[in-house]
Amino acid sequence: MDEALKGRDLISVLDLSGSELDALFGIADEMKKYAKSGTDLLKNRVLATLFFEPSTRTRLSFETAMIRLGGNVVGFADPSTSRMTTGETLADTIRMLDSYSNVIVMRHRIEGSARLAAEIATVPVLNAGDGSQHHPTQTLTDLYLMRSEFGHIDQLKIAILGDLKQTRSASSLCFGVSRYKGVKLYLISPEPLKMKQEVKDYLEKSGIEYIESTTLDQYLGDIDVLYVTRLQKERFADPSDYEKYRGSYIVTTEMLQRAKKGMIVMHHLPRIDEIPLEIDYTPNARYFEQAANGLPVRMALLSMIVG
């Protein structure tokens, strides 16, 4: 087992170098074998899941990963159902779970909370999304799918579509691709929901080429990956904007016919109506594989960090 990640926190995908990502994806390939049968690699180890904000998919994926590795899970799914967190500081909650567990996974809506947890805990802390732009394990899953699909991530042309301002998977993916060479990003969003300036500053500093646009159409023939995010009405200050933009951010079979051959459609799920059900049956759809990959990727991560 690769020792490089042992005991490390994962707050942002940028905590990992390109070669560490490669090593992790290599182990994820191995882990696919145990995704159903299980192993006892992390026997007697305990994962604490602290979901101060509900996220069923991410939590179940982490919990299953730990169980398949032979470990156990404690924690809570939603603090409103748990008396434990009422009135207690985050720091005190972390200290308690730190003493019970070998690794902590946390989601919290307040920006910077994962970093605070990491400073307090003696065991590694994995960020399952905090209020900021980071969601590293989603990005690992996304990159892993692209690597499996194309055999490489270098040189890929990736369009990210939808609410780029408030979707942490979208900003986190921008950070993630900066570990690869020659990637080109197409940031397609309504004017009010453009990618945050500091993420774009980061791309520029890292030499990642990107284009911003409000329409995808003219790029359909160029892109390898169409990464779709939710466009939610409540995210628009002006509801008429939502009506105005909505139609351009729904994937259609007609669009897929005009797309570059082999283009894949990804989505971090759950979706609303931005990917209609008929897309599921096209050869382009990869979002179910993407979701399924979360398991071997998280198994690889846990085994490397806790192992």
């Binding site: 500081t89 985050l90 920006e111 910077g112 970093r115 209020g131 900021s132």
Partner: protein
């Protein structure tokens, strides 16, 4: 105006700190970042747009009976990177300091992001701002990772 006239314009102090070579017109920002409001009763003299043999025109701030701590001097690098700080004891310059950005500000500056966990009162947290680029300069909150530029409102922790 000669340097001598400038000297006359602001009286000498017996004990305290003189911040010299502040870019003309920026003395108020210096007071701001040091949290000097005048409400604590200290004697503060400010001279703005006076001539300087070194930089054309400049501002000068003198604060009597207050000796800037080194970490306060660090903070000045954000608004007055060319300033010099003289600590005065018994009318004499006891110590001369160059203003320089440190690698990080710990417990000195607050993150300007109101939704950052470092701004929550009940958590045991020391606001930590990393200086990621000393040239530009670029600062980044250790916790929320927000990039902070010196033109953002800088609050004192």
């Amino acid at each position: 105006m000669s340097d001598e006239e400038t000297q006359l314009l602001i009286r000498r102090i017996k004990e305290g700190t003189v911040i010299d070579h502040i870019k003309a017109g920026e003395a108020l920002q210096v007071l701001d970042i040091l949290g000097i409001t005048g409400k604590d009763g200290e004697i503060v003299s400010v001279a703005m747009n006076v001539s300087s043999s070194k930089i054309g025109t400049k501002d000068v701030v003198k604060v009597a009976n207050r000796f800037l701590r080194p970490e306060e001097t660090d903070k000045l690098a954000l608004v007055a990177p060319l300033a010099t700080v003289n600590i005065i004891r018994n009318y004499k310059v006891a110590e001369k300091r160059k203003v320089e950005l440190p690698d990080l500000f710990r417990g000195i500056l607050k993150c300007p992001n109101p939704t950052c966990i470092s701004n929550r009162k009940n958590e045991p947290i020391i606001p930590t701002i990393d200086v990621v680029d000393k040239e530009v300069p670029i600062l980044k909150c250790r916790f929320c990772q927000r990039v902070i530029s010196p033109s953002d409102t800088l609050l004192i922790a």
